[in-house]
Symmetry: C2
Amino acid sequence: MATIKDVAKLAGVGLGTASRVINQSGYVSEATKKKVEDAIAELGYVPNETARAFVTQDNRIVALFLPSIHHAFFSELAYFIEDELDKNDYKMMLCNSSNQIEKELSYINMLKQNKVSGIIGISYNQIEKEINNSMPIVLVDRHIGEIPYVSSDNYAGGEMAFQVLRDSGCKQVAYIGTYTKTILTEVEKRKKGFENAAKESGLDYTLYLEEDPIKDQTVFLNQFLTKHKNVDGVFVENDLMALELVQLALEKNIKVPEELSVIGYDGIQRYGALRPKLSTIRQPVEVMGRSLVDLLIKRINGFSVTPAIHPVDYLKGETTR
Amino acid sequence: MATIKDVAKLAGVGLGTASRVINQSGYVSEATKKKVEDAIAELGYVPNETARAFVTQDNRIVALFLPSIHHAFFSELAYFIEDELDKNDYKMMLCNSSNQIEKELSYINMLKQNKVSGIIGISYNQIEKEINNSMPIVLVDRHIGEIPYVSSDNYAGGEMAFQVLRDSGCKQVAYIGTYTKTILTEVEKRKKGFENAAKESGLDYTLYLEEDPIKDQTVFLNQFLTKHKNVDGVFVENDLMALELVQLALEKNIKVPEELSVIGYDGIQRYGALRPKLSTIRQPVEVMGRSLVDLLIKRINGFSVTPAIHPVDYLKGETTR
DNA sequence: ATGAAAGCGCTAACAA
DNA sequence: TTGTTAGCGCTTTCAT
């Protein structure tokens, strides 16, 4: 493997000069530039990125940790994050934390080890003590200290879901979702927005919750259908759960949306081809992904940033009237 | 940030000694070991991984490039690859190539730049000229020169799909899929297996193909349903397409599986909750993911390896009789 | 068993 | 505009 030294020697110039033309920094005359470029071509020289990262203390790698890439919303988000990082000449390292705090911490540790320049994290663990405001970290749906975060407007989404159900004539609505005892995420606001809107309107509502992670989602949802036969409109925490609820309802010969309206949250594109098409509150995944990268890069470069909360919209499918 | 130099100084030992206890290499007396460990604890020393990677010429990062993580089968595969890499103390860099050859080549280039130790690639481009047998690369479903690859037993899968359709009484079967003019992938063997089995049995069969990438899958599938009303059993190249075919058939009031049996390929777990449940030829995704990592690590360490072809099985759902 | 020193390939500060 | 040089933090000989 040819090194920059070989290039300099062959071109008959100094090390620094060779470095300058390679990095297009500083002044170099056209003549010497040509000489160096020829030498590079002749040797097939490729800069050693590891050496470069070592000396500049910046490797242009960003870590993304999330519960599991094996989940439609996350993989969609990861797609856009990678795309935006690539545009900014960063590489993306991916870690399925499986919600294990050790794995998340090991990535946070990589920041100290200089192995990554920054982190985008989706975490439902108590990582408060391990991170601080000076680290280049951006979180999704999670508000910890001054760490910047990105989320969709969960509260407005909850309100919106309620409005849709009420406007379509539902008399008895419910929210189905999860909660955690240990941490507080922005996701809870979906429930709050829904609940407050319901209270305000005076309509009867039910909260059907189970602690995350749910052991058996099918059992959980079937139980809901059995216990709450009077409910005619449901807002479900996420699309995947909503989709299963719809299927289970249909199996029980409950007509959707005639007898039961269902709204999900996320707006996962991939499910668009499925029938019945789910009505949902759509998060602007692409915007969120790019926004995360934007904020993170600013943090890496030492700028301070503020959280970004992105508006959601209602995507009507076939599961609401 | 404390360096190994600080550690050595505080512990009152030489640089090399400090390095030895950190890496648990060479001989160190218990006494000095303790001194160094104390110093590390006191300083909160963390090794700079970039420096380490630089000097050892090995950064323990593996790149995975695939068309898009935003695709169920790939994200499932990526999940297991990451998991297995993590067990072997490697990190995974992820790249959505979007089938752009430039992006794939830029990753291959990272091998030369020392930015990654190896590559796992899913590529449908002509990258033959850019890679060679000495590079630590493993491919999925693609046989190029002596580059090792991993795939499911596509040929057997095709045969299996045919047998299922025939055994359930189908009289007129078809294969629906894509083809490429420029390259040859193992995926084509799904069609070959199916076709040969059909020929052998003497049953009438149709091949319904379009060049990849398909512009509008819905149009493509609807056209099939319109043109081939006599077909009563279909093997579709992948689950996603099969799933859409089922939905489109149902919309046209074609009864599945009574009037039309459908079998997909992949066996994506996440779709298991959807109804009707798709019958499919399942690839052992987890085994394949771990196998990819296993082969790659052997390559990185200079061992030669042979391709791994993994058996598939038939997963009966509700779309076949 | 341990310390000193060389060197990995590169960038950047400095001098010329 | 260019060449020289000093590190970056670490591992690894090589003496001792």
